[in-house]
């Protein structure tokens, strides 16, 4: 599947509000995809795929941000499931903080989590979503979000402490 907008043949111009939504939401979409996939090389492609999913539905979408978020989560999961042979980790902004190494260890641990466990952490601690919204984005119940979060935090703690 080409990760482009729909074919130009027979395509009507996108509604202006979609173009505006795309422009405004694009940076955040790429960053969310990057954190979920832990791979800056595919973040833009995953984000673009998510917008491509929304485009044909645009006139019926009531909550574009929620729709986009779910599409990114799902597209990132598809990407993660196909990437079995390498372990990626996002880079950190370099700072003179003495805890740099500790953050690097934490980044390793986050990158090593199963996708759904990483996703609940990103949606909670990066996107700041409520439990119900995370459940909606992941297509699961709030109780599952609770248990995924618990397991993820426990795994991180185990992974970063000597």
């Amino acid at each position: 599947m080409a990760m482009t907008k729909p074919s130009a043949s027979g395509e009507v111009a996108p509604p202006s509000d979609f173009a505006a939504f795309y422009r405004d939401a694009w940076p955040g979409a790429v960053r969310l995809a990057g954190l979920l996939t832990q791979d800056t090389r595919v973040a833009e492609d995953v984000a673009q795929e998510a917008f491509t999913r929304i485009y044909p539905q645009w006139s019926r979408v009531q909550n574009p941000s929620a729709y986009l978020r779910v599409a990114i989560v799902n597209a990132s999961r598809s990407w993660a499931s196909r990437r079995h042979t390498e372990r990626m980790k996002l880079p950190l902004v370099a700072t003179p903080m003495s805890t740099e190494l500790a953050f690097d260890v934490l980044a390793d641990a986050v990158a090593g989590l199963p996708y759904r466990q990483r996703a609940v952490l990103v949606l909670r601690y990066h996107a700041g979503l409520r439990e119900a919204d995370i459940a909606e984005a992941l297509g699961c119940r709030p109780g599952t979000v609770k248990s995924l979060t618990s397991r993820a935090l426990a795994a991180l703690r185990k992974g970063i402490e000597p």
Partner: protein, 341 residues
């Protein structure tokens, strides 16, 4: 971060994600800009747990399951426990997967005793799959949050507990672990007995449960409530609430059970299903093909159907199982679906 409390960890996660986000260079882009290079194929969404939402390509159309909160099989009940805080109290917690009954539940942590007495307990299960489930109890007592989480496993014959965790009784709510495999019990039966466990990880704690009657991987009640040789189980429960947010769609699966053994039929390929909604203007129902990416032995025993909320209201989805060799109806059931705004 040499010693990390959960508060520290959460703060560090926020900081980590912020710094990773800052490190990502994102160029401005418009919808009309030249297409991005194709790097990957994202064709279908794999449900992380087979019975959960899935997206499949159907007749070249993509159905995107999105924006739906469903209240179904996993529990999510609030149970008030009688009695004063800190005093022994009879408890009964139940989800579709697990029952927990005891004459007293005590967690001793941080110098206090937690019994759930006088509290309202949030009761959840992760419905998991045939090999994994949880029971998750959360309440507030002595001004702090207390949790008891039990993790269950099963094989073809037995179920057992793989781990128990409680909170530590402190405001920061760290975990205390009571690790170890215990309570191995035949499927369909309950473990009964007294429990007295000392913590194995985290802060010191003690968990005692008197006259515990615990059963996980409960047999579906449909085996008792339906008649005939077979029963249909809706794996999201007999009552589903669909709350559309954006595009409303929710996947459920049904499993045909041999009622005598209350286990899935040995030859699921012999049967097919028909789904009809009592009010398609409220909830439309569509039979779904098996989503890609599932274990090979999953879909034969779990037939997918998709619910789409049209307008707020209630409807019944009638499910009929048919023996394809004889065209005879072998089982039928209704799933109550409420579409909320």
């Amino acid at each position: 971060m040499s010693r990390t409390t959960y508060d520290d960890l959460e703060a560090n996660l926020r900081e980590l994600f912020r710094r990773q986000e800052e490190a990502m260079s994102v160029s401005d882009r418009g919808w009309d800009d030249p297409p991005l290079a194709t790097v990957t194929t994202v064709s279908a969404i794999e449900p992380a747990r087979p019975k959960r939402s899935a997206v499949v390509a159907v007749a070249a159309a993509t159905l995107l399951i999105i924006g739906v909160a469903a209240i179904g099989a996993g529990g999510g009940r609030a149970v008030h426990v009688a009695g004063p805080s800190g005093s022994p109290a009879r408890v009964h917690f139940e989800t579709q997967q697990v029952t927990f009954d005891a004459s007293a539940l005590r967690i001793t942590a941080n110098g206090q005793t937690f019994t759930s007495g006088g509290s309202t307990v949030d009761v959840h299960s992760d419905p998991g799959n045939a090999y994994y489930q949880t029971l998750e109890l959360t309440w507030r007592e002595h001004g702090v949050e207390m949790r008891v989480y039990m993790y269950f496993a099963a094989d073809a014959h037995d179920w057992w507990v793989t781990s128990i965790r409680t909170y530590n009784g402190r405001s920061e709510g760290d975990w205390i672990g009571y690790n170890g495999t215990r309570f191995r019990t035949p499927l369909g039966s309950a473990f009964t007995g007294d429990v007295d466990l000392a913590s194995t990880s985290g802060n010191r704690g003690r968990l005692t449960i008197s006259n515990l009657r615990l059963e996980a991987f409960r047999r579906p009640p449909v085996c008792a409530t339906q008649t005939g040789a077979y029963a249909i189980e809706s794996n999201e429960g007999a009552a589903i609430t669909v709350v559309p947010a954006a595009q409303a769609s929710f996947s459920d699966t049904v499993t045909l059970l041999d009622r005598a053994a209350c286990t899935p039929v040995a030859t699921p390929g012999r049967f097919e299903y028909r789904f009809t909604s009592s009010d398609p203007d409220v909830v439309a129902v569509t039979a779904m093909p098996c989503p890609p990416g599932l274990p090979a032995d999953y879909c034969p025993f779990h037939t997918y159907f998709d619910l789409t909320a049209k307008t707020p209201g209630a409807a019944r989805v009638h499910v009929v199982a048919i023996d394809v060799r004889t065209a005879a109806t072998v089982a039928q059931t209704d799933v109550r679906v409420t579409a909320k705004r």
